[in-house]
Symmetry: C2
């Protein structure tokens, strides 16, 4: 053993490393007694406590065992090290957008309008003092002040009258559904709109729920079909059905609430994902606003309305589920940092959120108008629907063109468009092709250019 006194590695660690590798390689066999600390320290010309420290490390890692009055013995250690782990290739992140010149994705969010300077300002102000409180564990449910801000917003903008006690904050809608599944428990059947927002459908499926598709008519989810499906929970988007854009009228809403009322364990999940963007008339109040019998689980998010990277969603729970939340998951720690909650709280309370919404709504409205105008010459071959809200519209073709053919022809022209069939749970032969065109990610100029190409060479 040759020790380096000029090394940055302490002497005791050098000794420990030598002996460890000798044990690992088998040079010191199992059961062998190590030299006494006194003998080794004399031999190596180091202090006895240095050797003791090395032996203790070997002892605590289990390479040697101590026997009282006898010394240290090499322990039996089975084959070690040389980890050869299986390499699993990570799926590549979708880079397809770069292949297309124009992408009419229905899930776009314009980030050019993101209020960077306000965000920076708020973030800076919040971090300015050494506020220990900010970095302590927060309320598992979300900070009370932030939940209050969410309540006022919901009351004013969505007609939802709820208390901060009923609101639970979480890092994104997927997480909120995971938490909700812990509250609801397993063994339930969930009815989904067909066609629908497939992402939530997928999450619920992977959370081991039985999922059943429920058809739509012009008023949204068919309550008779829901009844027949045997579902316990109905997952709906009543303010703006995704992807069809149907606004569920009051009568259907009442039927849905009545269905939920018939059994104690029935609930309606209202996913109010993009109610902020409506171009005609006042915003439609949320179903939760009419929820007299406490049957609606309301889901909302700031990821759509501020930015996807803002991981901030929330749910409003009915009383009975709230009690179950406290019992079963009240101890689950919050997934959103206090700093982020405080930024968004001030963003709402200081009026920035309203201004941001109005600004983006106006911007999306202009793009919407340009798109409709550009599509007008096509009105003999197709019809527009779902155009009063959200950030996409639907084109239904009367000329027997197939969806696949339309998408492929557009692709050849460098344009990405989306087919309705991707949103269906049950496969079905479409009588007429329906294409979704989202406009949140395209400028007015780009929309003009792209629709011109679609008109001339695709549709």
């Amino acid at each position: 053993m040759s020790l380096k006194t000029d090394s940055k590695v302490p002497l005791y660690e050098q000794i420990y490393q030598y002996i460890k590798s000798d044990i690992q390689s088998g040079r010191i066999p199992k059961g062998e007694r190590l030299p006494s600390t006194r003998a080794l320290s004399r031999h190596l010309e180091v202090s006895r406590s240095t050797v003791e420290l090395a032996y203790e490390q070997l002892l605590s890692e289990g390479y040697v065992e101590a026997e009282p009055y006898r010394g240290f013995f090499v322990a039996q250690i089975e084959e070690l090290y040389h980890i050869e782990q299986e390499k699993v290739r990570e799926p590549e992140q979708e880079e397809k957008k770069q292949i297309y010149r124009y992408d009419f994705t229905p899930n776009g969010v314009d980030l050019k309008s993101f209020p960077y300077s306000v965000w920076r300002k708020l973030s800076k102000e919040i971090l300015i003092d050494d506020r220990t409180e900010l970095f302590r564990s927060g309320n598992p449910q979300g900070e009370y002040g932030f939940r209050s801000a969410v309540c006022s917003y919901l009351y004013q903008a969505r007609g939802v009258n709820c208390l901060p006690e009923q609101v639970i904050i979480g890092a994104g809608s997927d997480y909120i559904l995971m938490l909700l599944s812990m509250i609801l428990g397993t063994g339930l059947r969930i009815g989904f709109e067909d066609p629908s927002y497939k992402h939530a459908y997928q999450v619920m499926k992977e959370l081991s729920y039985e999922t059943v598709p429920v058809g739509l008519d012009k008023n949204g989810m068919k309550v008779t079909e829901l009844q027949e499906s045997g579902a316990d929970i109905a997952y709906v988007t009543p303010s703006h059905q995704y992807p069809t854009g149907i606004v569920m009228p009051m009568k259907r809403r009442m039927e849905l609430l009545k269905w939920a009322q018939e059994k104690a364990e029935r609930y309606v999940i209202e996913d109010d994902y993009d109610s902020e963007f409506r171009y005609k008339g006042k915003p439609i109040p949320a179903l939760k606003g009419y929820d007299k019998n406490d049957k609606v689980i309301y889901l909302g998010t700031f990821s759509k309305s501020i930015a996807p990277a803002i991981r901030l969603s929330y749910m409003v729970l009915p009383g009975p589920l709230m009690r179950r939340y406290y019992e079963k998951c009240g101890f689950i720690q919050s997934t959103v940092s206090k700093v982020d909650q405080l930024i968004v709280q001030q963003f709402i309370e200081k009026g920035y959120y309203e201004r941001h919404l109005n600004k983006t709504r106006a911007m999306y409205k202009s793009r919407h108008d340009v798109l409709i105008e550009e599509l007008r010459p096509l009105m003999d071959v197709c019809s527009i629907s779902g155009e009063h809200a959200g950030v996409h519209l639907l084109l239904t073709f009367k000329n027997k063109r197939s969806e696949a053919e339309l998408i492929e022809n557009a692709r050849k022209c460098g344009i990405r468009i989306y087919g309705m069939s991707a949103y269906r749970i049950r496969e079905r032969r479409e009588q007429e092709a329906t294409i979704l065109l989202g406009y949140a990610n395209l400028s007015e100029e780009q929309i003009r250019e792209a629709v011109k190409i679609l008109r001339d060479s695709v549709f």
Copy 2:
């Protein structure tokens, strides 16, 4: 109907509100035809399009129905509004700390040493440009750069050799367990150390797993008892068993890995929650470092080592589970914002994390030393264990005092101490009382004062 032309509320909305409230109150009965838009506009002396807008809003909310060529009719709407929701009282956040003059909580984190200025600086730098990329949807698994930083840290500090592809980032350890449960699937039996970290035990129980307690000996979880329990998964804290402080020696680790290897579906969850703080010898490498057969699920967190409000934890998955993750939950969106990931990434890469750890380790070490010194006069009535790592130690009393009595006597003196029985899964009559004393939240001075009181009046 009297319209206010000077109101901020648009005329169409005033008309809509009037008619809506008349329908709601029943003043216009179900089935009644509304006046034609022409007639009403003449009557109110407003433009016809104003009335049309009001009717459209009523239509889209379902208060009226349109019949072609006949006009608008009041729809049947069941009783509405006047929501009286059940109030559920929110459990009060624990404020007990204020009642106690000294709290020896074993879960404390000193926040005075939190590097506020560095945090502010990094946060400011990251937000300085209008970087659209920062606010776009991130990688569901966590940003690659951040995962790489975690890998280097794990390799250097914990002897874990893994690839960024195997790392999944999540907002807190509870969330990580929720995600893990989606990957593992249901119907498994999980063996927990008894006594143990009850929080994780509780989470797994609420995630519907069958949980079984497995006893400890001086080397940690008894593998023979684990074998007999029929568990599929073993949840362990090998580097520093919580709460006993046992470091699992190499031999036991090998036995545990061998147990896992016997069946394809067996795994070991290694919760490496506070390995950063060790006061004697080198840090013990993680069990994952010896995981030749890809059987260890490694859990780590920055919430303990930086601050509880930093919602950033991670897991390292074995290859087969990684593949299952991509299949089943690869689409679940990340719960941590890119901004937070970038702050912590730079915190690690620029050496701040290492400096922070060394600083807090030194600080905790001093407190640890003061506590041991102050406890020395008690060594004839009790013995110290678990003192080489973490931020708490254990006192076992030889004098037949009961745990409850000790805790109650301390409480009367304004001191909060913690009993071992709270960490046991199976109730058992303790032969000797064991008390946990955490020192992360107390200054050296406070420790001196508090232990003096404990010595004089409690123990």
